[in-house]
């Protein structure tokens, strides 16, 4: 069996569940596929970009689009400060777990320039970045939420320290060309690198004098490729249709799980249990279909549908994105968008155990861009919110609320 976060959690359940206590939800965001909006213009448009894609961020969304770029040579970089707040409500009676993820993400860097009759490019993309953190103390409660202080399991103090770092990078070249005036095709061949480190520490001090401690550590490092094949078609003036197909293929994976604990009736700490694995994750095929209508040189509308295949325990997901761009004048442009980031996990059941959290997120985006002749500077914000369910204890289901907020600053330059 491949050791995973869930395995860490299950192990904690196995140990703590025997005394009817706590486990930890693993909010690494492998449960969603649309966690970061890439690029400046695309982020402002809510990610509805596969039928536009005519600047460096097109290298990621739909590489065919770069063949239609206006600039002879163009680069762009985006830096984003991203925050996620998750609240698992009423975990212990009326007490909630709160987790926060925040960090500065070098979201995107890309460069395109004409080459061999087409357009070549190179980009570095952070496709996902999570830095979850939870440090909480809960006092004077019963694990079941009741209020009987005479029960043996009454808890005087419960400490939880949780940290999860999970970042995925895509780095690679692209090439696109126009076989016809109204058609462009392109390919990005990204190298895939992902590293996740997950640490969970829990200490329980019961009124009856028992002490429980468990510590879980998990790490996974993946290498692979992520080819993106794109097609752009302009069936008629002012309308563009974009199609992209991608799949991350994990070529090498190594993971390590370590669990250490001291049970309630034990007097010594049990030696750590260590598991390693080289089992490779299967990642979904992703199909992205979009269209954009360029009403005039000041206004456009775009929409995307992104389908992720069902793989393993992950369900198929269909996300949407809608965006619009409006130029106030030749120097200032506003962009806004709506998007979804749906969970690939099944809805939770009150009768099952070991379930993954399920939260469907819906969000919006807004950005302002100032243009000079050869450059642009954008600032923007995007955020999402959702209500769902999680199972952070050995049994039962908790309500989960998630908010995300990302601010970004981006620059592009043509020569």
């Amino acid at each position: 069996m491949q050791p995973t976060i869930n395995a860490v959690r299950c192990c904690a359940w196995g140990i703590l569940g025997a005394v009817a206590l706590y486990a930890a939800a693993a909010h690494a965001d492998s449960y969603h596929y649309n966690n970061i909006l890439i690029g400046d213009r695309a982020a402002g448009l809510g990610g509805a970009y596969s039928a536009i894609s005519d600047d460096p961020s097109g290298l990621y969304y739909n590489p065919a689009g770069i063949a239609l770029a206006a600039g002879a040579s163009l680069n762009g970089s985006v830096n984003a400060y991203s925050s996620t707040f998750s609240e698992y409500k009423n975990v212990f009676g009326d007490k909630s777990w709160k987790r926060e993820s925040s960090g500065l993400i070098p979201n995107f860097f890309g460069l395109i320039q004409p080459f061999a009759g087409g357009m070549a490019g190179f980009s570095v993309v952070v496709t996902d970045a999570v830095a979850d953190d939870q440090d909480q103390r809960f006092s004077n409660f019963t694990p079941t939420g009741g209020a009987d202080p005479n029960k043996d399991y009454y808890v005087n103090d419960f400490y939880i320290n949780f940290n999860n770092q999970d970042t995925t990078y895509n780095i690679g070249p692209s090439f696109a060309f126009k076989p016809r005036d109204d058609v462009a095709v392109g390919l990005s061949l990204y190298g895939h690198y992902r590293k996740q480190q997950f640490i969970l520490n829990q200490q329980v001090y019961r009124r009856n004098g028992e002490q429980i401690w468990t510590n879980g550590y998990f790490q996974i490092v993946e290498y692979g490729i992520n080819p993106v094949l794109g097609l752009m078609w302009s069936p008629l003036d002012r309308l563009s249709v974009g199609l992209s197909l991608r799949k991350t293929i994990v070529l090498q994976s190594s993971s390590r799980r370590q669990v250490t604990n001291k049970d309630a009736d034990a007097t010594v700490i049990v030696q750590p249990t260590i598991d390693t694995s080289t089992v490779r994750r299967d990642r979904p095929l992703q199909l992205n279909l979009g269209s954009a209508y360029f009403a005039n040189d000041r206004l456009l509308f775009s929409g995307d549908l992104t389908w992720n295949q069902s793989v393993g325990n992950s369900q198929a997901v269909l996300n949407f994105a809608l965006g619009s761009e409006f130029y106030l004048n030749s120097q200032w442009a506003l962009r806004a968008g709506l998007f979804s980031n749906l969970a690939n996990t099944p809805a939770l059941s009150a009768t099952k155990t070991g379930q993954l959290e399920h939260v469907d997120l819906y969000g919006g985006s807004f950005s302002v861009t100032n243009f000079t002749r050869n450059s642009s500077l954008s600032v923007g914000v995007n955020g999402s919110v959702g209500n769902g369910q999680a199972q952070v204890l050995a049994s039962g289901v908790q309500e989960l609320q998630v908010w995300t907020l990302t601010t970004f600053i981006a620059a592009s330059n043509s020569f």
Partner: protein, 283 residues
């Protein structure tokens, strides 16, 4: 909202196919041009300097491929005609240079910044000075309309506040700009010798050339005559080998229409065949 992607994709594709089948597939991509592109339509002194520097580099590439015909009399003659035309081009800020290339190819080239060349092979196909002026006027028109400048986005260094921020964020652009400059020179050279201007730019240059000819005092119908003469299968084949001036029925028809709509027919302006013939021994 999970699954059911095939249905959604089918709907979007159906929309595209239905709309697409309604019109010819050869849609232009100009609709992608955004309003901020208008920011580049105003040219400043540093843009002119960049244009001249760029054009000089491309001109050097041309002379590297096809050497200049070193004949002072001929060069002076072509230059006099060219300067007269250029004075009506509205690009008085450019120091125009004219030269003859020692090539049998029937062709002419111009680069940004005012560098214009005509081949010896083209001169041999001409019958009068008006036809020489017509070819030069067409090339000057490419410069006047900034076809290469706009296609390659040749601009001077930007000094705005945003650019300063840009340099901080992107880590500066000095070496990158130099690389981009020489890549653009390569592209422009390729455009002149291999790809050619697009037909829209060619037709625009033809229309402007007609006005330049008339304003300078040459018969504007000379361009039509010259193009008709070189549009023989043999000449076309030779010229199409380098494809820089795609001519044909469409171009000649457009020229005839432009002459008529601009009121440039039957003006009886000079052709000066005798003076042109007096330089025949030089080419």
């Amino acid at each position: 909202m999970t699954a059911s992607m095939p249905k959604a994709c089918a709907l979007l594709l159906l929309l595209g196919v239905t709309l697409g089948s309604a019109l010819d597939a050869a849609a232009e991509q100009d609709f992608r041009r955004r309003a901020h592109a208008a920011n580049g339509n105003e040219f400043e002194s540093n843009d002119i300097r960049a244009e001249i520097a760029f054009g000089r580099e491309v001109a050097a590439r041309i002379l590297g491929r096809e050497p200049r015909r070193d004949n002072a009399e001929l060069t002076r003659y072509v230059t006099l005609i060219g300067q007269a035309l250029a004075s009506n081009s509205g690009r008085s800020e450019l120091p125009f240079y004219f030269g003859v290339l020692d090539s049998e190819q029937v062709n002419a080239y111009s680069t940004p910044g005012g560098y214009v060349f005509v081949t010896r092979g083209a001169l041999q196909q001409m019958r009068d000075e008006a036809e020489l002026a017509a070819v030069l006027a067409h090339e000057i028109a490419h410069i006047q309309l900034r076809h290469i400048v706009n296609a390659m986005h040749i601009r001077g260094k930007e000094t705005s506040g945003v650019m300063t921020w840009m340099s901080v964020i992107t880590g500066g652009s000095g070496d990158t700009a130099k690389v981009a400059f020489f890549q653009a020179v390569d592209q422009a050279t390729n455009l002149l010798f291999e790809e050619g201007f697009n037909i829209r730019d060619e037709l625009a240059a033809d229309r402007v050339a007609l006005m330049l000819l008339a304003n300078t005092g040459y018969d504007p119908e000379a361009l039509n005559r010259f193009l008709t003469r070189i549009d023989t299968p043999t000449q076309s084949a030779a010229r199409n080998g380098k494809r820089t001036h795609p001519s044909g029925t469409e171009r000649l028809t457009a020229l005839a229409t432009a002459l008529r709509t601009q009121g440039l027919t039957d003006l009886n302006l000079p052709r000066r065949p005798e003076r042109f013939a007096s330089y025949a021994t030089h080419y």
